[in-house]
Amino acid sequence: MGTLSVRNLTKRYGAMAAVDNVSLDVEGSELVALLGPSGCGKTTLLRMIAGFIAASEGEIFIGGRDVTYLPPHKRDTGMVFQSYALFPHLTVFENVAFGLEMRGAPKDEIRTRVGDALKLVRLDSYGERYPRQLSGGQQQRVAIARALVIRPDVFLLDEPLSNLDAKLRQSVGLEIRSLQKMLGLTTVFVTHDQNEALALADRLVVMDQGIVRQIGSADELYLRPSCVFVASFLGQANLIRGHVQAPSLFRTNDGLAIKCDTSQFGSGSPAVLCLRPEHIEVGTDAAALDNSFAASVQAATYLGASTDLTVRTDENSTDLLVQVPNKIASSATVKTGEKTFVGWSTQAALLIRED
């Protein structure tokens, strides 16, 4: 059992399940991101862990203790809210001291620990200010210090970066990650931004319609998505429907024959071929790969570091999205309408189950 353990947790509103039979173990010092589109239940799950929403079914354990029926103030979680939720009538110092005061810590200890916490977020000279006198990024750092100063068993963050502008988002995100590593905090982080989750989390939990679709590290989820939802939610993917015709042979609905690993599927069963755009090669070299097709370039979009191509196979006219890195002195710039080859290795082609 992890430091935080969620067992078959369900929250029902009438007939609708906002969180549907979710089980999750978060190990000590691990940062787990709950990722999914809005309304997928990730915030509801976080708020159930904090105790703001009562579970309909299932259990929550924090440090081995069953907290399912404990009110929020008895749970020892430290939460950072999307809106910062600082106390507007208290100074920065008093905000951070609040949790220690509630625990009846002696004055001297409060002073040192609040001082340390503010130093940690580089706001030690801001103790006397009021939240309204700080910028958004500073307010968020006060909120982080306030949640950390009580040394919570679990650190919870609800979309902590979504109110910050793009530049700050990255630096505050990395700051949260380095604090979390330094202090060894068991952390659950809610976000709808896949880049944030990929960059910051040890493991990702992809949720959709209250259900956990897949749990794994960033590369596991990206390279071996378990379903179409995960494949399309994380990054870009060519998803081509078809069926397994014979061992190691997949036939698309368009009629293309593709060599790939079919060991997870029986002959004749329907499946979806997942091809990442950057795993597809374009050009004469591509003709030598396991799967290769004569094709023509339909469209090219220059994106700086790379170029996105839409390539149509001559046989059966299947459109593929291909991402080609832009090298310096690239003489071989691809032009629309040009005749060429596309190809990919058997390893690049992943078969996944239809949702």
């Binding site: 105790g51 939460m79 809210f81 939720a85 106390f87 509630m102 949640a147």
Partner: protein, 275 residues
């Protein structure tokens, strides 16, 4: 439209706005300015232009017992009605905004309804009601301080409910959740976070309640007894016999008191933010 035309239309719009603002201020302030001015006129009836200026009417007003007693009664009534109304109205607002129980909109409407009933109707209805109470259970509220306080509470509750509800709706619930998350029990969340955040709404409610009660004439009219009238009734009674600037002097003092109350409270809670 050309650039010049756009600039011109912007200028015209700004000018019109300024004109409307000036007009509104003049309409609102002229009576006050005239009353204050008239309190310095050196003539025993209001004549224009004034023959000269004097401070004697202030001395005269201060010597007129009914004004002083009126001030005292009004202050007591306004204080009582404010305390009672703000307490009950704040509690009601919390229930209306926070309880999530059915029928809260209806209750809010009922609590606000004294605002739309003509005050004189409230006064008459209360008089009849108080007489019934006196007949029924022997408690006479028709001519005492408590009757007046209860009657004025009917005026202070709607103001409190209106201002405090608006304040509560605007509060970010996450702030209270943050307090609970940091270990505060529900009671401590309320005393340490919810109440302080309601402060501006409650202060505004108290201020408006006090003023509304202090200057009310119609509700009090039938509920006062001889010798212990409220200030507005004392002014009315004085005006039935005399029309000299002493009335203006007394009202000037009232205006001064209200204005300084507003200015002082503005130092603690920005009035522009709560009203």
């Amino acid at each position: 439209m050309t650039r010049e035309a756009l600039i011109d239309s912007g200028r015209i719009a700004r000018f019109l706005l300024a004109a409307v603002i000036v007009f509104v201020f003049i309409t609102l302030l002229t009576p006050v300015v005239l009353v204050v001015w008239a309190s310095f006129f050196d003539s025993s009836f209001l004549s224009f232009p004034p023959p000269g200026y004097t401070l004697k009417w202030f001395a005269q007003a201060a010597e007129h017992g009914a004004f002083l007693r009126g001030f005292e009664t009004s202050a007591k009534v306004a204080f009582g009605a404010t305390c009672l109304g703000v307490f009950l109205g704040t509690a009601a607002s919390l229930a209306i905004v926070r309880s999530g129980l059915p029928g809260m909109k209806l209750i809010q409407g009922m609590l606000l309804s004294p605002m739309i009933v003509p005050n004189i109707v409230i006064g008459i209805a209360l008089y009849v009601f108080f007489i019934r109470i006196a007949d029924g259970i022997g408690i006479d509220l028709t001519n005492g301080l408590w009757g007046l306080i209860l009657a004025h509470t009917l005026l202070t509750i709607p103001w409190t409910v209106r201002l405090v509800c608006a304040n509560l709706v605007g509060l970010n619930r996450s702030i209270e959740e943050a307090a609970a998350n940091l270990g505060a029990s529900p009671l401590r969340v309320f005393t340490r976070v919810t109440l302080p955040m309601m402060r501006s709404g409650v202060i505004a409610a108290a201020l408006f309640s006090f003023i509304i009660s202090f200057e009310n004439l119609e509700v009090s009219l039938l509920l006062v007894q001889p010798g212990s009238t409220t200030f507005p009734i004392a002014v009315l009674q004085y005006l039935e016999f005399k029309m000299d600037p002493a009335v203006a002097a007394a009202t000037t003092v009232q205006v001064l008191i209200v204005a300084s109350a507003l200015l002082i409270s503005d130092r603690y809670v920005k009035l522009s933010r709560v009203v």
